[in-house]
Symmetry: C2
Subunit: 172 residues, 2 copies
């Protein structure tokens, strides 16, 4: 263990929290705020929501009578609304925890960043963890409903294997 | 989100770190000390080493000429020595990080507990996480060599599915 260089001063950590519509991601964020993240340490919380890509034109070509342009626009609009709702809920939770922390006064407010990306959640989360220089990725144990999970595999499983930073899985 | 009760004061966390002979567990501990655990927050680091159970008498009966009592005693002694070495190495790392942290003066020394248990690592780690009231379990991504892992499955995979607390996986 010779020549070990320990972190003499701990810089604020960049904590990436993957949020989605599920209760599990809310629980993960809540645990993170209550037990992990510390505004007084200068941590930055990055809330990442990944919304699915809009229906592509190739789908339109194959079944144009089902997915007219208006329908795809409506789906996309709905997806944006869900993203807004999820992010708003997550931000509210952050504010609430910041307020309730006696130790964290005005000069120690939790820094919160919000990122909304589009694509396959698994790949995007891993990519963003790298791109944003996350020190740790926090997520719930799932990230898809039962049927989607059966088809696609668990998002958290994928991230555990592919993210370049440590991954913290919070279970219900 | 109404009626949310956030942690007003953050009590020190009980951070259980599963240590073994592998480099991956050393990396996990190092990451934990550098980025996660904070003596100034009153955290307690619990180092857990699980050593395999000694050869049983049923093995002796089947192949007595191979595993005489002296041999099993020698294996057991060796296993204890490995446990001592792993734990000593882990403790040294903790001391090193404690010393190097400018913010953590004498009144803020990292509390370190050491537990050595015997049995199947996967089951024992999950059991101890529960018994010791761990707030989080930190471990490397493996926990067995390649061949053992192929036979037994990854310890971290098992703990992710079965531990009752959040699990933080630190990869090489």
């Amino acid at each position: 263990m010779g020549g070990e260089t320990a972190a003499a001063t701990k810089p604020g950590r960049r904590i990436l929290v993957a949020v989605d519509e599920g209760d599990e991601s809310v629980q993960a964020l809540r645990w993170c705020l209550g037990t992990f993240a510390a505004a007084s340490r200068g941590d930055t919380l990055i809330l990442l929501y990944v919304r699915p890509p809009p229906p592509t034109y190739s789908v339109l070509d194959a079944s144009g009578y089902l997915f007219t342009e208006e329908v795809t626009a409506a789906i996309d609009r709905y997806s944006r609304e869900v993203a807004d709702a999820v992010v708003e809920k997550a931000q509210k939770l952050c504010t609430l925890y910041s307020k309730d922390q006696d130790v964290d006064e005005s000069d120690h407010e939790m820094k919160v960043e919000v990122k909304v990306a589009v694509g396959d959640a698994r790949a995007v989360i891993c990519h963003m963890a790298d791109k944003l220089g996350a020190d740790v990725l926090v997520m719930g144990s799932h990230g898809y409903g039962f049927f989607k999970r059966a088809l696609l595999g668990s998002v958290s499983d994928y991230c555990l294997r592919n993210a370049s930073c440590p991954v913290l899985i919070v279970k219900p």
